[in-house]
C-alpha cells in the first residue's frame, strides 16, 4: 500500500487540508502531520531554541492525523524521525493552501517549505495552492484537477531533485482553461506595513502589502497563467546555485 505524508501551513484544522485528505485517500495510507495553528509565510523555517510537541489526533484504518507545534518543515522532519523512522513515504503532498503560492510567494510559502523539506529527504513532493485566502473556499475544482495531476505524477515521475508548485485559480471547474507547465514569475510585495499606535502611544506594524507584478506581459509566468484561469505547475530546485553566474564570476573575479 502506498504511504502518503500530508502537511500544510494553514494548520491541521484548515478546510484545505481536509480537502486534500479526501483527494488523496484513494491513493494509499495517509499520515497527516500538520501544524496546530496557522504557519503561513514560514518558508522553510525550522524551530531552533525551543522544543516541539507532537499530538496524535486521529488513528483509523488508512488515516492517522498528528498535530505538531512547529513549522511546516518541522512537521516533515518530525514525521520522518518520529513516525516514519527515516523510512521514506512514497509521496508528500502539502496543502491545499488557502492563497496563491505563485511568483515570489514561493519564496515565503510554508506549504512549499514543507515540499522542499520532503525533497531534501528524497520523497517525491508537491505543494498545492488555491488562489484565494477565503477560509471557506470551494476546493472542488482543485480536487478534480488535482487528481488528474496526481495520476500523471504517479505515472511519469519527476526528477528527484525538485518539488512541484501547483497553483489552482479559484473558479468553478468548468471555467478552468487547462493545466500548463510554467516558471516562477517575477513579482514582489510593496507598501508592506500598516503602522498603528498601541494604547500606550508606541508604534506597531501589521504586515499587509500589495502584490506588484513585475512582468505582466509574460503571459506564461505562473502568476499570470493563474490570472488567465489556467492551473500552473512549476518544478522548483533544491540546489539554488546560479551556475551561469558562477561561471561568469569565476572568470571576472580574480583574487
Amino acid at each position: 500500500m502506498r504511504r502518503i505524508l500530508i502537511t500544510n501551513d494553514d494548520g491541521v484544522k484548515a478546510k484545505g487540508i481536509s480537502a486534500l485528505i479526501e483527494m488523496m485517500r484513494p491513493y494509499g495510507d495517509i499520515t497527516v502531520v500538520a501544524p496546530f495553528e496557522a504557519q503561513s509565510g514560514m518558508s522553510a523555517a525550522l524551530t531552533i531554541g525551543k522544543p516541539l510537541r507532537l499530538t496524535e489526533l486521529k488513528s483509523e484504518e488508512g488515516l492517522k492525523i498528528y498535530a505538531c507545534s512547529g513549522t511546516p518543515a518541522d512537521c516533515v522532519k518530525m514525521a520522518m524521525n518520529q513516525i516514519f523512522n527515516q523510512k521514506l513515504p512514497d509521496l508528500l503532498v502539502s496543502g491545499i493552501n488557502h492563497g496563491s503560492n505563485a511568483s515570489i510567494a514561493s519564496l515565503y510559502s510554508g506549504t512549499l517549505g514543507a515540499a522542499a523539506e520532503g525533497t531534501v529527504y528524497g520523497i517525491p513532493s508537491l505543494g498545492l495552492s488555491l488562489s484565494t485566502h477565503d477560509p471557506k473556499a470551494d476546493f472542488s475544482a482543485a480536487l478534480h484537477f488535482g487528481k488528474i495531476i496526481i495520476d500523471k505524477y504517479l505515472e511519469i515521475p519527476t526528477s528527484p531533485d525538485i518539488y512541484l508548485n501547483i497553483n489552482f485559480p479559484s473558479i468553478p471547474k468548468e471555467d478552468v482553461k487547462g493545466i500548463k507547465f510554467s516558471h516562477q514569475g517575477k513579482g514582489q510585495w510593496i507598501k508592506e506595513f500598516e503602522e498603528r499606535k498601541d494604547p500606550y502611544g508606541f508604534n506597531y506594524y501589521w504586515m499587509t502589502g500589495e502584490f506588484y507584478n513585475q512582468e505582466p506581459e509574460d503571459l506564461l509566468a505562473d502568476h499570470n497563467l493563474v490570472s488567465q484561469n489556467y492551473i500552473s505547475i512549476v518544478p522548483h530546485k533544491i540546489d539554488t546555485t546560479d551556475y551561469t553566474e558562477l561561471k561568469r564570476l569565476e572568470k571576472l573575479w580574480k583574487f
Copy 2:
C-alpha cells in the same frame, strides 16, 4: 555616501553583527535593522498574524541601529518600508552568522533569507557566515578576507537576480588556503530530534541533528571547500524554477 543595510539572524547583540559593522563602516553610512533575539533557521519566513515592533537603539554619525521583533526577512522589509522608504540602499550585508550556511543550511538560513529578501528588492545582497556556532568566535580572518571580497564586489557587480552566500572556515587567517567560487553542496540533517519527557510525563522534542554529507567526494562543493580551509562563494538564485525539468515534463506530461 554609500548607504548600507546590515542585518543578521543571530540577533542585534551577537558578536558577528558587531564584527560586520566594524568591517563595513569604512564603506559608507550604516543602517542596522536586526532581530531583537536569535532567529536562526528562519529561512525567508515572514511574520503574519501578529504585529511587529521596531526600536531605535543607536543613532550617531554614519551608524543607526534598530532592533525589530520579527525574522531576518521582516527586518529587511521593515528597513525598506519604514526607514529607507522604498528607496534602495546600495548594499545589503547579512551576518556574520555564527555557524556555516553552506550546503543545505542555505535552505534554512535566516542570514540568507534576509539576503534573498534584499535581492527581491533589487538591492545587491550578500550573506556572510563563519563555520562555528561559538558565540565568542574569532572573526578576524572573516573580517580580513571579507574586506577583500567586498572590494571585488563593489568593483565588479554580480547579476541583480542573485545573492552571494559566503562561508568562512573558522581558522586563523594564515591558514586560509584561498577564496573559491562554488556551488551548493548536497547534504541533509539526520537523527534530528532528542526526545524528552516533561515533568508531567508528556513527550517533547529538541531539534538537534547530525549533518550527513551526501557528496564527500565532490571537493568543489561549498561545504567541502570550507572543510579544506577555503572560503567559498556561491551565487544563489531567486528564481528557483528548474528549467531543464520544466522542458522535460512539458514533453512527457500530456493532459
